[in-house]
């Protein structure tokens, strides 16, 4: 019952944050990216795709050499997805393609931070309730929320860093 309430509150908070960001996060007009950003997003997608392929190839090679898996397939896939998101988001942020011209950067950062913190807290509480499973030295499960939360917080750090760099840039 507690878990149901927790996830209902969690989902409600997520929807509220998303709606606030979507409707109040724009300066005017729509959340459309400009042409340079669209190109940068495509490039970032390509980087993430190849990073994911490289990641799974590395895992395959490691397994062939070592002979055994360090983690379960679920964990490897989850880590791969988080890494892909990190590469995609990070590349978009570095190329200034994360926030559309008419979107407020502050609200985008706030949204990223809120969702990141929400996931991290949910992951930590899950961790305390025995969310980690290690069988025969092999990591079977780790709270997905924790990984997603940490990924988003890392992206937030990059976002803040890039915003500071941009503000120092001369006009």
């Amino acid at each position: 019952m507690n878990t149901t309430i927790f996830f209902t509150v969690y989902a409600a908070l997520f929807i509220i944050i998303f709606l606030i960001q979507h409707y109040f996060g724009k300066r005017s007009g729509s959340h459309q990216y400009d042409e340079r950003q669209t190109l940068a997003i495509g490039r970032s997608y390509k980087y993430a795709f190849f990073a994911l392929i490289a990641y799974f190839t590395l895992i395959l090679v490691t397994e062939l050499i070592a002979g055994n898996e360090l983690m379960s397939t679920y964990m490897l896939t989850l880590l791969g997805i988080c890494m892909g998101v990190l590469v995609f988001g990070g590349s978009c942020i570095l190329q200034d393609a994360y926030v559309a011209p008419k979107t407020s950067p502050r609200s985008a950062g706030l949204c990223l931070g809120c969702i990141g913190l929400l996931n991290t807290f949910a992951g930590i509480s899950n961790l305390r309730n025995g969310g980690v499973k290690i069988v025969d030295g092999k990591l079977i499960a780790l709270p997905a929320n924790l990984l997603v939360g940490l990924t988003l917080l890392l992206l937030l750090l990059m976002f803040i860093g890039k915003a500071i760099m941009n503000s120092r840039e001369e006009d």
Binding site: D34, E35, R36, D96, A100, P101, K102, N166, E169
Partner: protein, 65 residues
């Protein structure tokens, strides 16, 4: 290659990169990239910039010999 003519036209109209970007619906970084020569804009964006700055395509984007 840097587009100094665009920068000069923008400064002549007393516009910041952000102000020009807002007028043509792009980000400040896009205007900055065009001025630095890091990004080659589409014809639509070139026209929008020219109309905003009151210049022709030749004035701002035709390569000088």
């Amino acid at each position: 290659m840097k587009n100094l003519r665009l920068k000069a036209a923008r400064v002549a109209m007393d516009l910041s990169q952000q102000q020009l970007a807002d007028k043509v619906d792009v980000t400040r970084q896009t205007i900055s990239s065009i001025e630095k020569g890091d990004y080659n804009p589409t014809l639509n964006l070139c026209i929008a910039i020219c109309q905003t700055l009151g210049k022709t395509l030749d004035d701002l984007f035709w390569p000088s010999i």
